[in-house]
């Protein structure tokens, strides 16, 4: 596609092609949108991705099974825990490895904390894209505490590398449980405060309600997953419907969009489903901390990981929806093929279909509500 800064399509200058990105604060990374506009109205927005392609899948074929774990962090660095977990589960399925209960619980705890951190960024940057700066700072402030907790757990604040094939890397540090519970008490109050601060603010609701509606059949057809799919009213969550790890043991609700302020599947639904999910994550962490089993946190794993030839798919519910790892083994110490299916990739694929008729400013709301993370699109 021809890349131009700006091109006028009609003599009166109303119709033009506009480059939105790749360096634009509301693109959440490096993505380019070729926007065909007629005045303020978008005729079509075509996403151009690939700026952050780091060939992570090719690296997976070269570095051996345990060696790939730190690279999975970079698939989605806002929610790295899930990529860790998805890859670990896929390889464990290949090895037919049972992991100890304590490891499963620790995985659930770390993942749900990571979901809170990721959703805080999602809703925070969304308010900022719409034009309210303060709520973003509130979100990031809470996320700092989550980062502190995860740092105490595994030593890293962003690229965690916490999960291992066969379990997790470290047990809970001393006093961590009490610290986490204290934070969750505070966090539940914070969610109410956040709703009062911004969620039901009249201007904010008017900017989002009824904008960029994605009906459920369209969402399924384009392969939307996770909060974006549930925002469209599809009641599906891998943690509840195809449970893995420790999730069968927890009780939690699955929030589904139902036109909270406008139409089902609009930007506000996708936003508010994330707010509600944080509350559920907080519940899950509490339950997991209360029922945390004693024992080993790492299974007996052979020193050289060499699965039998075969293939396995793992599906986990990441903060950006279903993350699937497809790992093919040829019986050697290196995987023959590692494939990461991510939520942002398909979410970006729907933009071209939803964009016609939106105002230019609403495109920002659409991208923010889909919560795409550029490295996860490009891998």
């Amino acid at each position: 596609m021809e890349r131009l800064i700006l091109r006028r399509l009609s003599a009166d200058g109303e119709e033009m092609i506009l480059n939105f990105g790749p360096q634009h604060p509301s693109t959440h990374g490096v993505i380019n949108f070729m926007v065909e506009t007629d005045g303020e109205v978008i005729r079509k927005a075509i996403p151009e991705v690939g700026y952050l392609h780091r060939s992570i899948e090719k690296i997976g074929e070269k570095v051996g099974y345990p060696g790939f774990m730190p690279f999975t962090d970079r698939v989605d660095y806002v929610a790295a825990m899930f990529a860790n977990e998805g890859y670990a589960i896929a390889v464990e399925r290949l090895l037919k490895l049972e992991i100890p209960p304590r490891a499963r619980w620790l995985r659930a705890i770390s993942c749900e904390l990571c979901r809170i951190a990721s959703h805080l960024i999602a809703v925070g940057t969304m308010t900022m894209d719409i034009g309210a700066f303060t709520p973003m700072l509130h979100g990031v402030r809470e996320r700092e505490t989550v980062n502190d907790l995860i740092e105490a757990l595994c030593g890293a604040r962003l690229t965690y590398n916490y999960h291992r094939i066969g379990g997790v890397a470290f047990d809970l540090p001393e006093g961590w449980r009490e610290k986490t519970l204290r934070f969750l008490d505070h966090f539940d109050r914070f969610l109410t405060e956040f709703d009062r601060l911004i969620s039901f603010n009249e201007v904010y609701v008017k900017r989002l309600a009824g904008v960029a509606v994605i009906p459920a059949p369209l969402a399924i057809d384009y392969g939307l997953v996770g909060p974006n799919l549930r925002g469209s009213g599809v009641d599906f969550d891998l943690r509840r419907d195809l449970p893995y790890g420790a999730y069968p043991h927890f009780h939690f609700e699955v929030p589904v969009g139902k036109g909270f302020q406008g139409t089902t599947g609009d930007c506000f639904d996708r936003y508010y489903v994330r707010c509600l999910e944080m509350k559920e994550s907080s519940k899950i962490v509490r339950q997991a901390l209360d029922t945390l089993p004693e024992g080993e946190f790492m299974a007996k794993v052979p020193r050289r990981i060499k699965p039998e030839p075969g293939e396995a798919l793992s599906r986990v519910e990441s903060a950006r929806g279903e993350m699937a790892y497809y790992v093919v083994s040829d019986g050697t110490e290196n995987a023959w093929r590692v494939r990461a299916r991510t939520g942002s990739f398909t979410a970006m694929g729907i933009v071209e279909a939803v964009s016609p008729g939106l105002m230019v400013a609403d495109l920002v709301a659409l991208i923010a509500s889909l919560d795409v993370v550029a490295p996860e699109i490009d891998r």
Binding site: F236, R339, R341, F345, T346, G349, A353
Partner: protein
């Protein structure tokens, strides 16, 4: 339905064009004739009781020894919560597979990615162009025999060992400290591939 039952339903409709269920070690799959894949997928999506409405993943695996590229379809049904894996084997020298973009819109970008990274041509795809690599990139990086070019538009993708550079800086600093010593010869960089 479990995988066996799903497979039987497909066999009953398409006969030998849907291969036997390969009970591979962990996940099982079945191979479909390339010419029938779009039809099989449309049937699997629409047929009451099967309704595999979610194209979870569409990707490929390169097998140079068998001279095939496998295109892999992971399907899932939201209504019935069952899953099926289909595979299409295409000739590695000139891989051509009919598109399933008309069945699931999600296939549009998945197929573009497979085209970009494996060079599989999806016949009938409305907008088949590279998605992750630049438009003028040469080769398909996820193929097993792919070799990197020396660089891209004057941007090198090789560099010398940083330790060599550090050693050179050390020598220069040492020479500056001892003025009596003869002026140091610049260390010759090791012979490496020239950046293109």
């Amino acid at each position: 339905m479990n995988t066996q039952e799903l497979h039987e339903r497909l066999r009953a409709r398409f006969g030998e064009d849907v291969g036997p269920l390969l009970e591979e070690k962990v996940d099982s799959s079945c191979v479909v004739l390339p010419s029938r894949i779009a039809e099989v997928c449309r049937f699997a999506k629409k047929e009451v009781g099967i309704e595999l409405d979610h194209l979870e993943d569409l990707t490929a695996v390169d097998w140079p020894k068998r001279a095939v590229i496998e295109v892999v379809y992971h399907l899932f049904s939201y209504r019935h919560r069952h899953a099926l894996v289909l595979k299409v084997l295409s000739d590695r020298a000139a891989p051509r597979v009919p598109t399933v973009e008309g069945v699931w819109k999600a296939a549009n970008w998945f197929e573009r990615e497979v085209f970009d990274l494996f060079g599989v041509e999806f016949v009938g795809h409305p907008d088949l162009r590279r998605i992750l690599m630049p438009d003028d990139w040469v080769g398909h990086p996820l193929r097993k025999d792919y070799e990197e070019a020396g660089g891209y538009h004057g941007i090198s993708n090789v560099r010398e060992n940083p330790l060599v550079e550090l050693r050179r800086l050390d020598e220069r600093a040492r020479a500056a400290l001892s003025p009596k010593a003869s002026p140091p010869k610049p260390a010759t960089p090791p012979a490496g591939p020239e950046p293109a």
